[in-house]
């Protein structure tokens, strides 16, 4: 495995992790833009734009783009998150040049008003689809409360209202500002011909005009650090109650982030964790899990619970007790080692799939300008000590804190409200 990097004169970064034994080539354009970069008037534009990129350029129709990807046998898609918008395709190596050219051309979309109006309907359907699904908006509401005035508070899809009132000019302006070459990384993994990749970048992206990009980091004001909050979204027709709790954790630039992921696995992985044995194995909860998520300038532990509505209050209390127990009594070496090995095993398996590696290598470079090989990550995981995990637990206690949102049939309950008002 080797890593290669070249920067075009206009600022576009071209990077590749080349694996000689790979049978496929994955190519992605990672744009350093997402929901956190939007204003109120632009709420949802990053994701909406991601859809519009597939609607064609001045000389390629949407049908033509779809036909070409299928013709190449490509597995092509895109995603938008709080911090990234990515367009990617996995192809057989002989299609690398075609796939790169197509993705590159798409980065300069026509953004036709007629397409914009039709695609708006699709976005509204996507919003409704998620609204009908667990956790019924609890995740978005929780993020909004937890991050408060921080830009990470914004949900990726936007709202029905923000999408409906958005004019096409807003998107065109956003695209011009955010899709500047210095704000984009072209990343490839697997069986990559790097010379050809750079040549494709020069041919298709070399004339993109560079624009200054304002810094993204925002001062962190985590409301949750001021104490626990609790909100209820009543969904009378849902069967289970769904809870999401977010509490502060190490950010993406914090050396403790790997230890935080190990801690989350010990406490709340979807199997073999403390929450699993306490609630899932016993059939008390459909799900009781915890994971760590990091952003550029913030991090959090996200706890998810789904269970019978009448058990929700008790189980949330139990989760808090599990967290408190870990903080007060510490973790034992056996569970620490079990979970460290589990994490390492997971990394090895993910690492040997170039299609999966794209989503580690691309965003890592986009966020930090760094490359970390699978071996680098494995070394970090294997060097973690029990003390590292205990330090994270002391720095970022998970009990007695966090923003919690419940969605489900539970009616507004006075006892729950008291807990909220007490803060």
């Amino acid at each position: 495995m080797k890593f290669l990097h070249e920067r075009l004169p206009n600022g576009l970064d071209v990077i590749a992790e080349v694996t000689d034994t790979a049978l496929s080539t994955s190519i992605g354009f990672f744009v350093k833009t997402g929901a956190r970069d939007e204003t109120d008037a632009e709420w949802g534009v990053s994701h909406f734009l991601e859809h519009m990129v597939f609607k064609g350029t001045s000389d390629l129709s949407a049908d033509e783009i779809n036909r070409r990807f299928d013709w190449m046998g490509a597995s092509a898609n895109a995603f938008t998150s709080e911090e990234d918008t990515a367009y990617h395709a996995a192809v057989l190596p002989e299609q690398q040049i075609e796939a790169t050219a197509l993705l590159a051309r798409m980065m300069r979309p026509a953004l036709r008003e007629e397409d914009f109006d039709t695609e708006k309907l699709v976005i509204l359907e996507e919003i409704r689809m998620y609204d009908d699904q667990p956790p019924f908006g609890a995740d978005d509401r929780c993020r909004a409360t937890f991050f408060g005035h921080h830009p990470l508070a914004r949900s990726v899809l936007g709202t029905v209202e923000s999408i409906e009132r958005m004019p096409v000019e807003t998107m065109r302006d956003y695209h011009r500002r955010r899709y500047s070459p210095g704000n984009i990384v072209l990343c490839a993994t697997g069986a990559v011909d790097f010379e050809a990749l750079v040549e494709s970048a020069r041919q298709w992206c070399g004339d993109w005009e560079p624009l200054a990009i304002p810094p993204r980091r925002a001062p962190l004001d985590l409301r949750a650090s001021r104490g626990p909050t609790l909100e209820l979204l009543t969904r009378p027709t849902s069967t289970l109650e769904y809870a999401v709790r977010m509490s502060p954790g190490p950010a993406g630039n914090d050396d403790d982030r790997f230890a935080a992921k190990l801690l989350a696995a010990i406490l709340g992985d979807t199997s073999g964790s403390r929450l699993y044995w306490a609630m899932v194995d016993t059939g008390r909860a459909e799900q009781a899990s915890c994971h760590h998520q990091d952003f550029l300038d913030a991090g959090m532990f996200a706890t998810q619970l789904s269970c019978d509505p009448e058990d929700a209050e008790e189980l949330l209390g139990m989760i808090d007790e599990v967290y408190r127990g870990a903080a007060e009594k510490g973790l034992d070496r056996r569970e620490f080692e079990q979970n460290r090995n589990k994490l390492a095993g997971r990394w090895v398996l993910l690492g040997e799939r170039p299609r999966r590696r794209l989503f580690d290598v691309g965003p890592e470079w986009a966020h930090s300008g760094d490359y970390r090989s699978v071996a680098d990550d494995l070394r970090t995981i294997e060097n973690l000590s029990l003390e590292d995990v205990h330090r994270v637990l002391a720095r970022w206690p998970l009990h007695g804190t966090g923003s919690t949102v419940l969605a489900g049939p539970l009616p507004l309950d006075p006892s729950l409200e008291t807990a909220s008002e007490a803060q």
Binding site: S24, W71, M72, R353
Partner: protein
Amino acid sequence: MSLLLPIAANLPEPVKQTLHSTTLDNGIVLLGEDLPGLESVAVAFHTPAGAVHDGPGRCGLATLSGEMMLRGAGDRTSRDIVEVLEGSGIQWAQSVSTSHASFAGAMVARQLPTALPIYADILRRPRLPDDELENARQMVLQNLAGTEDDPAHRAMSALRQLHYPHPLGMPSEGISADVEAIGIDDVRSFVRGHVVPSGMIIAIAGRIDWDDFVTRVERLFGDWSTDDTSAVAIGNRGERIRHVPHDSQQTHIALAWSVPPYRHDESYEASAALSVLGGGSSSRLFSEVRERRGLCYSVSAGYHTLRDYASAICYSGTSAARAQETLDVMLAEIDRLPGTIEEAELDRVKSRAKSALVMQQESSAARAAWIARQWYHLGTVRSLAEELARYDRLNVASVEGWLAANRPAGLTVVSLGKEPLEVPREVSP
């Protein structure tokens, strides 16, 4: 810009492939595939203890039994099992389908000797302890309650239940009332009767040492013998059209009609036709329903196969006000399919299928699943070269020929949402 060639014209020589198979005296089939370049191996044990054997009033028995098998086996408690597997970095999974209960693990190759004896305990010596039944039952019931909140899953589940002859379409996750009634004796007799060597497939792929693997499996499973399991009586299918009332913003539409199962050679023509209809982003349904009209976020058509029955399945979810139009456009596209397939469309379908097959070789778990699936359906494992050659033989005439003789008819139509939809009489006479 350069000329775009269909992949069919320039696909590389098929990847060098080494497949292994052998059958133990007790009937267990062992399958293997070397995947050079990988550090991992994936192993999967498929026992013929699928939901099809649940029996009347016991829908969910296979799933509950599979869960109980993990709750202590041989000298190991359920915690021991999980702690050893996870402590060795083994990613494990357990699932129950219509035909099989499956236990699988993916790991770095050197951990295989640790993993195999644990799976042998789970399969041959499950404790099935009485005092774990309630917890396991509650776990199954929690999962069932979760599926109640997933409208797309509910629509598809109802579709399979109606379309396939009973009990082939019954939900493997169970039915609450039935799960409530299952006793420990049901579980024990189910495991005794169905988790058996005859009909069992053990598949391994990745960085393997085949001879060593066979020796280990011989030692762990070779002296296991039981009687053959009884066959399942196949009954009638359900009604053609059903609306499931559900208080949601979107209405979910699921359609099915019968096509040949995978082991029939013409299943390639059938799945190619369905892929033209709703396989990729240039497919007809995606283009007409989503791209041109913006009616929905998700719409697709695909091929679903059991051993003796298979279906074309179409799905879309859209807001209630536009659901009727969505259904009408879907039906019109299905109706328009025979006689209109173009060569360029078929070339794209072939490229996608062939490319996916080659890329699958990068995942030990995907290949272990694939070779087991082939054995179950075909009684053999086709080489990649054979598979690719079969796609090459697809042409417009063969697909149209199959479509002409097998026009989509007798559709099962399920809608789930606030209001029922109007289904034209001729769709489902």
